[in-house]
Amino acid sequence: MTSLADLNQNIQTAARRALADGRAEVVFGYRQGTAPFTAAPHFARTPEDCGQFVWTSFARVNLAAYLPKYPGKVALIARGCEARSAVGQVVESQFPRENLYVIGVGCQGMVDPEAVLAREKRPIREVTEDLTTINLAGDGWTASLPKAEVLRRNCKTCVCRTPKDLADEMLGGDAPPLPADDFADLKALAAKPPQEKMAYFKGLVKDCLRCYACRQACPLCYCPVCFVDETRPQWLGKSNDAMDTFTFHLLRAFHCAGRCTSCGACEAACPMDIKLREFNRLLEEEVQKDWQFVPGASWDQKPPLTTYRPDDEADFIK
């Protein structure tokens, strides 16, 4: 793969082919956004629509989140995390495998606009990108940053940059693998006294408005009625109570346990820049340790909370 233009060309061709072959009646992907640092989800039903597909580092949502609502055949232009989330939807019977065609793309990681703005203080007029760099332009100046230095937090520990094993078709070159999350910060935190841990986690969510943008963005949150909206009994009050907010984040993370693919859509959607994934990582660590399970890695492995082993260990139970 030589340039981003080539990759875009390949994506558009693959999308047109999927429509023409009848493997899909709609292709999910991204088109250029209307403002810098943005990209919009794009749903192409005709060959002409396919001309707008681009590869972008500013994808915020996870396209797999649109699958459970779609009643027909879909081709998904997927990053690694999106491919894994799509596998999750299939495993959880939210979308039939035979209706899904995965066009995988080797991904260099998504870029965090905040990280770019922290590095470049001058007013930015235009943002473009190549395969591995972000090019900025302002009044009378240009600059470029390597994507690797301004990645989103979740992309720094991505375990599936090249979704070779999950995709029906691969585009783009292999992205070099990154070291997996070692949870070192959480392990250090676990050794601290309870008050400090509580202060840390309550501090993380102190700005939360409970707008539920994280829930809307999450590919796992497809329940017809979410527990936060239930009224009899009402699990969460409607006011901005700190304990209600804390409960929301704990239960949100619990519902994602063993299913979260660390796509970062929740953090990207958050208007208050809350590190939502810290709660998910707590459980991700435990799921990996106890059940050696990696979500979205295979088409036939059940999520850990829907199954059991008679010899599961739980030495804290009296």
Binding site: L189, M198, L250, F254, L282, L305
Partner: protein, 148 residues
């Protein structure tokens, strides 16, 4: 702290631990009266949000107890529950709830003496943790104290 009496919400499975509590009573075994029992058909019925809700409403401790693994009335309910307990126990402690507040046990309906022992242990551990002040909903303050 000497006159602090903990309030504990206990979730017991109908077929085992609830029976054990019954047997302990009939056998005149003495155990502390600090817990209020919620009877469940099976520990598999326990949704983690029940536990958090109990704390949120001011419980000082929560105790969940059911059949021994392999003895479930519904064959596999407690196996599924055990996986949820592992995650919940880890998460609750990781976010800074004192380890002495949340307890799990397996007690069959014949184990009245084990019920008595565990009940004493649970109450003592929760008592040692003190009143739950950090992991609960604050009382709504309308500022009436200043007006009155």
């Amino acid at each position: 702290m000497s006159d602090f009496e903990p309030r504990i919400v206990a979730f017991f499975c109908n077929w085992c631990t609830y029976g054990a509590a019954d047997l302990a009573g009939v056998s005149r075994l003495d155990y502390p009266p600090n817990f209020r029992v919620v009877r469940l058909p099976c520990t598999g019925r326990l949704n983690p949000k029940y536990i958090i809700e109990a704390f949120k409403r001011g419980a000082d401790g929560v105790w969940v107890s059911g059949c021994h693994p392999g003895d479930c009335h519904y064959i596999a309910g407690n196996y599924h529950a055990r996986r949820k307990f592992v995650l919940l126990h880890h998460m609750i402690e990781a976010v800074g709830v004192e380890p002495g507040r949340l307890h799990f046990s397996w007690i069959s309906s014949a184990e009245a003496t084990k019920f008595q022992e565990v009940a004493r242990e649970v109450v003592e551990k929760v008592r040692a943790s003190g009143p739950n002040q950090s992991f609960r909903k604050a009382e709504l303050d309308l500022g009436l104290a200043e007006v009155a």
